[in-house]
Amino acid sequence: MTMMQKFLGAAATLALSAGASLADPALIYDLGGKFDKSFNEAAHVGAEKWKADTGNSYNEIELQSEAQREQALRRFAEAGNNPIVMTGFAFGSVLGEVAPDYPDTKFAIIDMVVDAPNVRSVVFNEHEGSYLVGMMAAMASESGTVGFIGGMDIPLIRKFACGYVQGVKAANPDATIIQNMTGTTPAAWNDPVKGGELTKAQISQGADVVYAAAGGTGVGVLQAAADEGILSIGVDSNQNHLHPGKVLTSMTKRVDIAVYDAFAGGMDLETGFNVLGLAEDGVGYAMDDNNAPLVSDEMVAAVEAAKAKIVAGEIAVHDYMSDNACPVK
């Protein structure tokens, strides 16, 4: 009975808060879940920072299935939340349909471009950040073989892979890169066992630095790499602390900044196309006490030089999503 009371109580609170939350911003996390130690968690951090800075509240929901995307979006819009921020490419088609129905509501989508007058599309130049960590991987590798493990096989993840490959080749033209994708369904974001097995397979093929761009699956990749005594590279959030001394660096993608900015924009959110790259510090590589012993001054110097050149436009890192092809393998 107490269980039932709890449920009813929770439902009542939800209903109340929905009514009281006029013009509060809302955040929708993708299937990986709020605490994936990666992409969605970064969004959560940004929202919490906004909450701490402004003292305002926001609404959030973690999706449990594909079917909830449109439902969650419409529900927030009808409840008067504004702006509504969603993380993940998978919202693209749904938002394209929903956005025109609520012309007074502002939406922000991260990692995808939706062309509508009330939508801000935030995309990151992941290929630039991946280029930098690729250079570091090549310089840290002793075997000359490095690995890449992606999550779901989608153009966005291939963009990571392509930037990484270009970076590796820039630092060591003779390097071999082994690329694997975990799967072709959303389950590929949450299969650490398969991630670990893929890592072991890459290690047995000679890889001694592995870059994981795979959401929750990446946790398994980093674990297997630490177990086998090789280096790994985290993604999205700073994952260096997961295995101190075993994670070379993390390709950070400042989803937190994107969410913070969108929330701060409020109802007057500037819509349109918003690119965060190296120049805007939207992507980068993570340095802290956990990986300081692993990264030599020489590596930092080389990476900083490359970063300056990319920002200045002297090095053009190819974007896989521009033509769905990668010039180097």
Binding site: K37, N180, N190, K194, E197, G220
Partner: protein, 321 residues
């Protein structure tokens, strides 16, 4: 492909096949006794969570294993209660268990650890470490045999050896003991067993309990041996592949070993060579992932041999109408 690569692929096969084998044998006991069980996935998931959680809190992997087994057996008890005592639909009860486990594990994990439905990473004694078999180091340079022994046979965790030991044990128990004969009879013709004065209910509960035990070991293997902690939905459909393997194995222990090894091998190949190029014709990785299910359908359709399930499978036993 040199010999070392072959060994690595087989090594990966063993790791991937172990949870399938345990779950497959679990299903075998249950289904041989006439209780269909599609809740293998849910039981493994619950066991994975509780073994990871208890191991993380206590720092002892063996306590974790016990907790995992207990959780899995508790779900087995629910399945037994619904389908044996109350004669409910076994498929529905199994589905309910899958949903229950998928939801509960995440909710409890969030409540206990506040890490978004996962357990903290396990370190040191909270994980199963590989066992080095005797003489493995000494013979590792002996070509073929020594290498095979060192790479493939030695260096797995205790649960792997337990899983493989379960195969002859299951065969002996089912086909060479009185209990086994009764268990199989209960799945074929429960009325006959009842006439002989043996409790159908008791035998079926025993079978379901063994099923829970084995699923518990399988779940603990995922969370505390292969990985270092529980992650949401980490079984990723392995319970269903185990069911497919059970049908493929025609409900026999030794066939179960070969079918799970085959499915594990297919996964290992798919992980190692994503798209296989057969001279101009590329086999996509999705095909390799789907192959276990395709093979099962082929078997079920009667193209290769005949898969005959236990005759009383799925039917609750009522003593008197």
């Amino acid at each position: 492909m040199d010999f070392a690569t072959v060994l690595q692929v087989f090594d990966s096969t063993v790791r991937l096949a172990t949870p399938l084998l345990l779950a497959c044998l679990a299903g075998l006991y249950s289904e041989r006794a006439g209780i269909f069980d599609i809740g293998l996935e849910g039981k493994m998931l619950a066991a994975a969570f509780f073994s990871g959680a208890v191991a993380a809190v206590t720092g002892s992997v063996w306590l974790g294993l016990l907790a995992g087994i207990a959780a899995s057996m508790a779900l087995s008890g629910i399945h037994g209660l619904a389908s044996i005592t109350f004669r409910g639909n076994q498929l529905i009860s199994g589905v309910a268990i899958n949903f229950l486990a998928a939801g509960l594990t995440v909710v409890i994990a969030q409540d206990w650890f506040q890490q978004g439905g996962r357990t903290p990473s396990l370190v040191g004694g909270a994980r199963f470490s590989p066992i080095e078999l005797p003489f493995a180091e000494a013979v590792k340079d002996v070509p073929i045999i020594g290498q095979t022994y060192y790479q493939l046979i030695s260096g797995h965790t205790a649960l792997v050896y337990i899983a493989f030991a379960m195969v002859p044990l299951t065969w002996w128990l089912l086909f060479r003991t009185r209990f086994g004969l009764r268990l199989r009879a209960v799945g074929e013709n429960p009325a006959a067993v009842d006439t002989a004065g043996v409790s159908v209910i008791g035998i079926r509960y025993a079978a379901v309990a063994i099923c829970g035990l084995l699923c518990g070991i399988a779940g603990a293997y995922l969370a505390t041996a292969l990985q270092a902690g529980f992650v949401k939905d980490m079984t990723a459909g392995r319970g269903y592949i185990a069911l497919a393997a059970l049908i493929f194995a025609k409900w026999r222990p030794w066939y179960a070993l070969s079918s799970t090894l085959l499915f594990g091998f297919l996964q290992a190949i798919a992980l190692r060579y994503q798209n296989i190029d057969l001279g101009g014709f590329v086999v996509p990785v999705q095909f390799m992932d789907a192959l276990p299910y395709i093979l099962t359908v082929v078997i079920l359709a009667g193209f290769v041999g005949k898969a005959i399930p236990p005759r009383a499978g799925g039917e609750p036993y009522a003593k008197e109408r």
